[in-house]
Subunit: 169 residues, 4 copies
């Protein structure tokens, strides 16, 4: 929770042309600003609709990037069929700190790591970087619960998913 | 951070018709499930595009609801012009716990409260309820920093905004 | 196709405060600018995310408004369950002319009319107005085909839907 | 409108696993189903949020893809700065026929061609294909008008834009 968010931000406009982009730093302890060795990376091409009227990629769009990379990884590496599979994942909690704004037409990458998993719950760390991996835009946590599609009850992870999650820790 | 998310979820499908809707409860301590007396409420009519392929309003959409109600309140009550005004607000941190899923064609309300504000930073509590206010769908925190549009430096709150923020605590 | 779009637009900024809003007029023959007596109206509260970085509600967002009002009408008046029902509707063709831009935090209304329906195909006229009904923002056409969910074959309209569609012509 | 849309659709489910995908054919005259030699192509990675609750990439999302590729091309090839530039482009008309549905996690490409341009108006043809270029998902038209940001009046194309548009015809 941003409850730890101390609010002493030092802001600096890096550039007004071609877009306003902001760097936020200060009170936050950026836990892994230089650590780009997250075990999985997904790529995001920003869209015209992602930017708000100040030219910033919105925070809600960033959560959508995280969902996209996680669900895509689940489909490809975890063999989870999001539409017809027996188990399905729901976000039950998430959070994100935003360190620097991104803008259309940036290409971005989302580094993904499994922080922990147990029972039917997975907690991911997701980090939004530019393509060089030098600029951290946002650092988030997403917690998913897996349930059985037919009963709605918490599901145990399928075996191949458990193996995949282990590889992502 | 969902760090407090203990992962012992008891899930119950409330209804499969017309949509799967899930209630999440358990490990979470819901801080104000029955407190609907948040000082401001904005209304959200769900859209076809908000639902994912499991019929759930996505978590990213919920963050978009929060942005919408906050920015709308800033425009109407805080006299902040999001496009031309001298100060502009950016989300620097946010988080949300999701307690029950919503579905298209639900009408929803977002209760809004200012948790605290100081310097150039505001922290809001935002709660997504159904229209009766009995069902809490999601409970979130959003932290904004206000900056001067022209310089990019942290801005002091305009006087009318400070008064409006006080009224929302 | 906007084939009739002759491109002699007379543009006028109506206001720069609080947002740039544009009126497009000229070559277009606005078929029903003053006709607000469309048999159904749905309401749209604009969202922060709908606006592009010039402050305009994007054209793609407008198509989303049309989808929302049509699918909502199908659910409530046509008794079509979008997630579990036996028949499901897909957009196979659409078009829209944009006459004046809208901006966040506008409240808008979408007037809906069934232009024609036959077999498994429905063609709607959808008109985006401001709440007074005096300002036409956009005028569109949406063509849907109904199919059987299980077979993917064109579906005949359920009886109650056929009655509802008739009432909307 | 989709005036050529005769409504005699022959539908065939291509696959129910992993997602329902539909092919629409029949009454439509597909003008260039096999012509993949559009002079510019942009790439779209689908997102979790693009799919509706039937697993289809929504039609509104497709219009967003077109906007994205056009605005991206204008920024990179036409040297149009969407946020600060002197001229800015607005969609005044658009249309699209949908031939086959796409699904998350598809990678897609948008072929782009300038159909014609004159005065301050450009008409694009945009075609949504799979990555092989063999499957046409959607074929659209987008008409933009360029205006002067400060006056709101129709703008003449900057010279480099005119050259770029010529190269795209």
């Amino acid at each position: 929770m941003p409850r730890s968010c101390t609010g002493r931000f030092a802001l600096a406009i890096r550039s007004k042309i071609p877009q306003h982009r902001l760097s936020f730093s200060g009170g936050h302890h950026v836990r892994r600003p230089a650590d780009r060795s997250l075990p999985h990376a997904g790529f995001i091409s920003t869209r015209w609709q992602d930017a708000d009227l100040n030219g910033q990629i919105t925070s809600a769009a960033v959560y959508g990037f995280f969902d996209t990379v996680i669900q895509s990884w689940l489909a490809s590496h975890g063999q989870i069929d999001p539409q017809e599979g027996e188990v399905v994942a729901f976000v039950v909690s998430s959070s994100c700190d935003f360190y620097a704004s991104a803008a259309f037409t940036d290409m971005l990458q989302v580094g993904l790591r499994v922080e922990r998993f147990a029972g039917s719950t997975v907690e991911y760390e997701a980090a939004l970087f530019d393509m060089s991996g030098k600029q951290l835009h946002a650092l988030g946590r997403v917690v998913q619960v897996f349930i059985e599609r037919n009963t709605g009850k918490p599901a145990t992870f399928p075996q191949h998913l458990e193996a995949a999650l282990s590889a992502l820790t």
